[in-house]
Symmetry: C2
Subunit: 438 residues, 2 copies
């Protein structure tokens, strides 16, 4: 809410939030949409969204004139039969893509109703859109509780006959969630496509529109997998569709931040030109395998970065966890002091101790790319002997983490956990190629 003085002034002129207004000031004239007051904003500064996409703040005391402006001509909708391309469910989880004025103050206003979505993105008219807000969070605030809520909602949409599902999600932890859902909903009969935005929708560079349209487009295709659809380049020319277990956010801010790891994306897509170019084989609608839904995941799992100076006590203090994923160095190493050097501080004993007490320990690598291979060096062989899981896997740390949460949701039997972990469920472990990697 703006200040009561400003509210009164706006009320007298019949101006509501969202109306197009014109303000004359000594520093210039501004025309644009009146935005709500940002969460931490000054109540005496009006925020106006200009046609450039930028917001401007105008202090009430500097107005010379304020008036309601005529609405701009409506955008021509493409001449297509509404709903001709099937029906798509859009589930909202929050994040930048769902925000209307995520400005530097941090205020988020998710707008996700079907009518609002269609208003914002007229090209969605090609599909019958059903939308539902599951929750609205910054994705870094999400945890296994939200994975479960989302899995439930997805199951519901599939049961309700959705021919494809788009999940609007914050980008920070999107690939943890896409990996978790890949294990929780196996053999999905319809596309489940995660989408986000790196820039909020009030920035000129926001890629919301292309991402959301391309994700709906992908959700109407024959892909029966959990996937992530995001900008492929910094031009707004196309998106990549990545496998949900094989993708990672690799830049803090670029629009093309999402990359397939140790694999090609599944497809390059552009709804405008009906482009859906397959880049890797994927599971298709109607392929064999019944859908298997598991909404039990174990959230008592630690993800630990191995580094020089790491203390044995850091590991031994994990004894109250049900599982641990290590992000080791190189091929999957930790300090083990295989050669008994007195200057080395090893964590081999506490790692072994965790495993002996029944806590599975899984290896991944901070190199991000490449396969875990603990057989090459003595340090690694010691870890394998101790029972560390993951030799030969080429998963990302995030996918290894989500998979262990899933596995420990199914069983606490160490042997069964190991079996689940080392079985390729949904493309997260790729077969070793003929070429030796070491």
């Amino acid at each position: 809410m703006y200040s009561s003085k400003l509210q009164a002034q706006l009320g007298k002129l019949g101006i509501d939030i969202g109306d197009r207004i014109k303000v004359l000031t000594q520093s210039g004239d501004f025309e644009g949409l009146l935005m709500p007051r940002p969460h931490y904003g000054d109540p005496d500064i009006l925020v106006i969204k200009l046609s450039t996409g930028y917001n401007v703040g105008v202090r009430a005391s500097s107005f010379e004139l304020i008036e309601k402006a005529p609405p701009r001509k409506k955008r021509e909708l493409p001449d297509e039969s509404p709903g001709k391309d099937g029906h798509i469910s859009i589930l909202g989880c929050g994040g930048t893509i769902a925000s209307r004025i995520e400005y530097t103050t941090g205020a988020v206003y998710p707008s996700i109703s079907a009518s609002e979505l269609k208003l914002s993105f007229p090209a969605l008219k090609r599909w019958q859109i059903h939308s539902k807000q599951i929750f609205s969070l910054f994705s870094e605030d999400m945890n296994a509780t939200h994975w479960k809520m989302l899995a439930e909602a997805l199951e519901g949409e599939i049961a309700g006959g959705a021919s494809g599902i788009v999940v609007m999600h914050g980008t920070d932890t999107m690939t943890y969630t896409s990996a978790a859902i890949s294990f929780m909903i196996q053999n999905t009969p319809v596309p489940i496509v995660f989408v986000g935005a790196q820039r909020s929708s009030d920035r000129p560079s926001s890629e919301n529109e292309m991402n959301i349209l391309n994700s709906a487009f992908t959700a109407s295709k024959d892909l029966a997998e959990v996937a992530v659809c995001m900008h492929a380049s910094t031009n707004d020319d196309f998106c990549y569709v990545h496998r949900g277990t094989r993708v990672r956010k690799m830049h803090t801010s670029r629009r093309d931040a999402f990359h397939s790891i140790d694999s090609n994306p599944l497809a390059a897509v552009d709804y405008r030109s009906d482009m859906f170019n397959t880049l890797s084989p994927y599971r298709k609608r109607g392929e064999s395998g019944d859908m298997k839904v598991s909404k039990t995941v174990n959230d008592n799992v630690a993800l630990v970065y191995v580094h020089p100076n790491i203390k044995p006590s850091l590991i031994s203090k994990l004894s109250d966890y049900d599982g641990v994923v290590l992000i080791g160095t190189g091929l999957g190493h930790v300090p083990t002091n295989a050669f008994g050097d007195k200057t080395v501080r090893s964590i081999y004993e506490p790692v072994k101790g965790l495993i002996e007490s029944g806590i599975p320990v899984v290896m991944s690598s901070q190199c991000i790319n490449g396969r875990i291979c603990m057989r090459v060096y003595t340090n690694g062989r010691l870890l394998m002997d101790a029972g560390v899981i993951g030799d030969d896997a080429d998963w990302t740390p995030e996918t290894a983490y989500a998979k262990l949460c899933y596995a420990l949701g199914q069983t606490k039997d160490m042997k069964k956990v190991q079996e689940i972990m080392m079985t390729n469920i949904t493309g997260e472990i790729s077969p070793r190629s003929a070429t030796q990697i070491v």
Copy 2:
């Protein structure tokens, strides 16, 4: 040692380890160098290094004939004046590059004496080589004790008049060490060039030779920085020289695993064609700034990966550390629950608690690439308000970690730590470009 029976047999024939031998067996004849028994090897299996570079194991009971073979013709040395290109110190820290038969058993035999190096790599003859073994470890076993030993040795070599220094180092934690040394030895008057190998030298694909020659070549150039010299591609055609604070191992096994992050490499180099192509500006020999050596670093620093389900107790248990580096999500986030959702498990309070108790907390990002920017979203702003250090830095998690160890070696005053951390010392924080990133 091989079995006493085998030893006796070899002794009678006058065969020593390293001799060229010929063995006839029913499965074929093998000629090559007799290798020492691998650490965990069967004492009755002779290991022979074939001319292909591969090792073969031959069981004593299967010999039909064993004899000493004539030595192969010596490799022609390039016709150059020995030592004409200055004098280079080569310091050994262990790792794959220093191993002679690092085979699947894990046995490592570092060979680092000057004469051995010159024998292995005749092109080194261009320089006067002085070599010294500092220690010999798998690099994942290294810690701040080894950083100090290395800094001391480097200081000694510089004082002793080395015109350039090569550091042979394991690849797993090489970039932690190169970052640490970048802070511990500032304004080095001569090149300090780290080098390693992704494949051990008994593999045909070992890149030891090209890496070590290119690192010596780089050490004789005008670069007065701490750098890393490693394969640029999977062809043996050239190496990249990376800034020591700006490089990361990005693949578990590929030869071209090392990449400059958020920057170009400093140079592309090939000793065979005298190529030294500058790709980024670098500090040159003779540039202003006296060398500043600090051998005190604080190793009581944790490096913590932020992830969904992370428990507040994981953070609060860090109260016995002197500093913490977080590897946050996206622009530098952790679960803070800025909007008070009851399903969110926040770590904001324990992070704030650490800072209030005088423990500096520094932010980096698991995206690896891109700048930390905590000003954009409410979650990030909360962290900044709590005093988390790192807004606007574009450092890697490893460089942030090494820098905090260094800073806490200089002072425990929180304000001074913050000042050191946010001052660009050696290219680890690059100036923000004109283009806004959010």
